[in-house]
């Protein structure tokens, strides 16, 4: 069975900017910068396209298939390790993949804001009203 991933919402939020992507993990306090290639893979995963399909669709002269396979698999593994994406059940066909050449996905991690994250987990309140918390 092919592996599909989806963004770990609502703990993870993301926003594109000039082709790159900024991803913030609200729970861990870490944030990430994804280059164009990484942002593109993120968007395909978000559409429900499997990791295997993304790897298979890579094109380029003299491409080292093993290296492409390892790089993309390792990138997707990192997204899971960092809880930026989680496993999903979706399994769509790769219908509209732009046939541009392979570029190495790069993700940069920043953890310098973790000290700012002094939040207790946000509580939802039960019907009994403030300050009673809803059952988890």
């Amino acid at each position: 069975m092919e592996k599909t991933l989806k963004p770990n919402e609502p703990n993870v939020i993301s926003e594109p900017m000039e082709g790159e992507l900024v991803v913030i993990n609200l729970e861990s306090g870490c944030y990430y910068s994804l280059n164009r290639a990484a942002a593109k893979i993120w968007s395909y995963l978000d559409k429900g396209i499997s990791v295997e399909q993304i790897i298979a669709a890579q094109q380029g002269d003299g491409l080292d298939e093993t290296e492409v396979n390892d790089t993309i698999a390792s990138f997707c593994g990192f997204l899971e390790e960092e809880m930026l994406m989680i496993a999903s059940a979706s399994d769509q066909d790769l219908l509209e993949y732009e046939s541009d050449s392979y570029e190495k996905p790069v993700i940069e991690k920043f953890s310098d804001m973790q000290e700012m994250l002094l939040l207790d987990p946000i509580h939802e309140v039960s019907e009994m009203g403030w300050p009673n918390e809803a059952d988890k």
């Binding site: 609200l26 700012m116 509580h123």
Partner: protein, 330 residues
Amino acid sequence: MNQLFGIGKETEQWRRTTIALDKFYVNMHFPTDQSQAIFLRPFAHLITEAQSDADLNLFVNHGKSGEKPLKAWQHFENDSSDEKKLHVYNKDGQHLLYNHDSKVLTGYDSHEHTAYYYIPSLDMLPFYEKAAPMRMIFHHFAKSNGWSLVHGASIGMNGKGILLIGRGGSGKTTTALSAALAGFEYLGDDYVILNPKTQSILSLYASGKFRWDSETILHGIEKLAVNSKDEEKGYFFLNQKHVNLEKKLTFSGLVIPSIGEGTETTFRRIPAAKALLVLASSTIFQMPGSGNKTLRNISDAIKNIPVYEMVLGNDTEMINKQLNELIKGL
């Protein structure tokens, strides 16, 4: 939420002041002359003629020293700890936040367009709550208008404003205060509001905070301080006598400063994605309840703005000269 914050029907007798943020009005209600005086100082430049119909009604409540605090406050205080300073509770558009560090309980009801602020005694207020109070309330208010309350300083020239962003210690506050004291237009040193619809930056607090050791760069800054060195940072309030305090500037540029080693100050244009990364991370982790909407608002506000990286030299005159040239060219 009225009951939770100890607000009864007698609020008609309370002191009311209206402040204006662009074309939006906030009616602030205070139970005593003392609280009115304390909390209005940073908003003094925004005070406008009284409005009976406001976009937000904000009720401040407090007890007296030695008096028993409100029951709800006691609950949150007992439930909090030094380790986790902020406690956030959400219920259908209503938000409660208890800050264990400042001892302030705030509430925001987006349906009723009402906000609440409570501290058992005014004596308990830390310096940062006197310099820049009610951040969580103005974060929610900004969000409800499609604006963003962001962590950054802002100065300008001839109506063109730049936003200085970065973590504490990056030089943004020192740069902004030095420029303001040299005659630049000034909107704020730590928190300002971005309005993506009108591509403008709005001032919220007419105050400035500084590290006590920055006297070496900002000569005479200590004289402006309204507090003593017992507190972590010095703070002061600004008015037209000190600086060109403005309420709004056109958002024309974004600058990410960092402290360099020599005397020379340099600028270079960088991609906007870097600005989103810096601004979103330093803003969102400080504003409980931020999420995709806040990130999208920040992105909308900065997407067409030129971004520069600025390496600061140790010559403040040179920094101001370079800033002047940069703003002129925007």
